[in-house]
Symmetry: C2
Subunit: 218 residues, 2 copies
DNA sequence: ATTGAAAGCAAGTAACTACTTGCATTCACG
DNA sequence: CGTGAATGCAAGTAGTTACTTGCTTTCAAT
């Protein structure tokens, strides 16, 4: 029984992954059961025997994708903000880029299939919460301007990450910075916006060396 | 002949507008010719007689929408940056919000129908160019930090506008600021990021009064 | 009044959709 | 060996899709 079930899980898993790939390419309406079966290398009937219906298959697919979400974390007590945020930002970008096609499709189909929102929202909204907490701690410790509008800056930062992650591959001209430099530059702009970096601020100027403009140190 | 043609233009226009509405709701695959004909109040055959095919109809629709693009402009010589940018930002947001559903759908279908990109790109990319020029002028005049990373700040600002315009109605929890305050706050964060606003800067502090934090003036 | 273009209407086509049914095949386990 | 669950295969169903055809109606211009 157990070995038989492992074989069943195998085809189930193959169908789920194939469904994700086909959905990422063609969306819900375009992801026909026939295409998914071919992509999975299984018979189309097995698809209905395993999941019952196309809708149930996609529900299972979304849940299985939502299950595996190892989001990056920020330290509780801020150290080198530029460094810590750049690493975190790069990990966050990589994480969201993994699902960019699926996110794009789910986003476009949000009005018709709102349940898809959970998958694409959890990542950015958790990231926003973490970043807001981190920035507030920076303010508390005196490393950021306490008059800064942290919620708005965080919202703009997350929007930018989201936009970069899901747009860069299809609209490259909209992103002037190369992919490898982007995290550090995004973080620099963010830190300047909350008064934690820049010419007239208390932030240690050497941090800027990690980014791009070295004249600040002079 | 001319009057007859005006009647023909009428149905043609009705079909085009109906196609835009149905496409905004259901996407390309979901926007069936039957639905469009019903929405336009015309016979389905008239649709094919006028445009030949569904693909040709949508091509015409995208072109007719790309034609009407009165984007807001920024003054050549910067005056009150906070005020000017807030007005511009509000107009830009309103402009993009007009097409939010269509943009969402086109964005999700970019891989399958790349020609849709032109419609949704022209707005943001023109806005980015205008904002970059404005910010650079601010730097030149000495109203902004010349060490600021203007291209990145502009890219993040446009991403944030784009994200707000097309996401706020479907993911309201992702936008903490009320719709009417958003432009001023976005602009404040942007100006701080390029060193044109805030505690330790040369920007006239009264500008901040238009925004949200009044303690800066004290 | 006649003409002619534009539109409606009913019907049909071929392909595709999700989904079903019945039967044959495989193959690990007892 | 044989039992039984998982899978494959062939065929079919009912509905939808884009698109066509043939005919009738409307109605402004001559």
């Amino acid at each position: 029984m157990t070995l038989l079930r492992s074989a069943a899980m195998d085809t189930r898993e193959r169908i789920l992954q194939a469904a994700a790939r086909v959905y990422a390419q063609h969306g819900f309406r375009g992801a026909t059961t026939r295409l998914i079966a071919i992509e999975a290398g299984v018979n189309e009937v097995s698809l209905f025997r395993t999941f019952g219906s196309k809708a149930a298959l996609f529900e299972a697919m979304m849940q299985s994708h939502a299950a595996s979400l190892p989001l990056p974390t920020l330290p509780d007590v801020p150290g080198d903000a530029q460094l810590e945020l750049t690493d975190w930002c790069a990990a966050l970008l990589a994480h969201m880029r993994q699902w960019r096609s699926i996110i794009r499709k789910s986003f476009g189909e949000l009005e018709e299939r709102p349940e898809a929102a959970t998958v694409m929202c959890e990542g950015p909204s958790c990231a926003a919460t973490a970043l807001a907490a981190y920035a507030t701690r920076l303010q508390t410790v005196g490393l950021a301007d306490e008059t800064a509008d942290v919620p708005t800056a965080v919202s703009m930062f997350i929007s930018s990450m989201f936009g970069d992650a899901i747009s860069r591959d299809v609209l490259p001209h909209a992103f002037p910075q190369p992919e490898e430099d982007a995290p550090a530059r995004y973080v620099s702009v963010f830190l300047r916006a909350i008064g934690a970096l820049g010419a007239g601020d208390a932030a240690p100027p050497r941090i800027a060396q990690d980014a791009k403009d070295r004249r600040v140190t002079a």
